[in-house]
């Protein structure tokens, strides 16, 4: 049977779909050096699109007690990073919810994307914390989370 869709149309359409599926990780927003320095010392600088604008605002408002740690910034740095996060915040499928404690790792999207990872892998000494993205995503510090790069430590 001859397809209704000529191959010349179908193939690019399939490739586009495949590309969209592969791109289901965090969007590759370039991370400013101030953000990498200030927000990437104790954890990798997380992709801004993984929290919505309201969650980022609450994170910035609570830096003096940031998950139990003093992560306070000078006023000028806080203003610049806050403005960039507001402009780069996510929405919709990845960041539609308001996760508890404004933790990316507790968003519905994050939990769904990691539901195949066994509990034992999270608890290993090389991982230690779900926030330690780089333990399994070797280029997380550059904002790259390609599914083909994943290496779960044993």
């Amino acid at each position: 049977m001859k397809s209704r869709f000529p191959r010349a149309v179908l193939l690019p359409a399939l490739l586009a779909l495949a590309g969209a599926a592969l791109a289901d990780g965090p969007a590759r927003t370039p991370l400013p050096s101030l953000y990498r320095d200030e927000c990437g010392s104790c954890h990798v600088p997380f992709p801004p699109g993984l929290l919505n604008a309201g969650s980022w605002q609450r994170v910035m408002d609570g830096l003096a007690r940031h998950h139990g740690v003093d992560a306070s910034l000078d006023a000028a740095s806080a203003a610049q990073i806050g403005a960039w996060l507001q402009a780069s915040a996510g929405s919709g499928r990845r960041a539609g919810d308001n996760p508890p404690e404004n933790r990316i790792t507790r968003s519905a999207w994050f939990v769904r994307k990691h539901d195949e990872v066994p509990a034992s892998a999270w608890q290993g000494p090389a991982v230690k914390s779900a926030a330690n993205c780089i333990a399994c995503h070797p280029r997380a510090d550059q904002g790259a989370y390609d599914e083909h790069d994943i290496r779960i430590p044993r």
Binding site: P32, V69, K128
Partner: protein
């Protein structure tokens, strides 16, 4: 704002943030910083006192060593996130203790986490004196 507008705004902010970071840096050396803290304290710095402070809890859950390691000529690991923290001793990591504003920022934050207060100039001098004695 449409998506192109958002992207442009984010790119502009990213550029501004990069420039701000580049111009903010003022360089110094560990020896100059140590002399400054010792002068403010009016005391001779003590490396053994610095080692004691660094490796002992000061009334809270963490000591300095909880994240930096007991002998910070090697990389440490953040006590809650597990992230690698580059070696703190200036002899092992020449980038350390070269930016006074950065040094003050981290003393302020980390002493607050470890001791629930800012560290005194004498404590900072002792810690830096000890770190400067470490050899990789």
């Amino acid at each position: 704002m449409n998506s192109l507008g958002t992207t442009l705004a984010a790119a502009t902010l990213a550029g501004l943030l990069t420039c701000a970071a580049a111009f903010a840096a003022t360089t110094s050396s560990p020896g100059e910083l140590l002399a400054g803290y010792a002068g403010a304290a009016g005391l001779q710095p003590s490396a053994p006192r610095g080692q004691q402070f660094f490796n002992t809890r000061q009334g809270r859950d963490w000591s300095c060593a909880s994240c930096h390691g007991a002998t910070p000529i090697q990389a440490g690991r953040h006590a809650s996130t597990g992230k690698t923290i580059e070696a703190l001793a200036p002899t092992a990591n020449p980038a350390r203790f070269t930016d006074p504003a950065k040094v003050e920022k981290w003393f302020r934050r980390n002493c607050n986490d470890v001791a629930g207060r800012e560290c005194t100039p004498a404590e900072k001098a002792d810690i830096l004196a000890w770190l400067s004695t470490l050899r990789p």
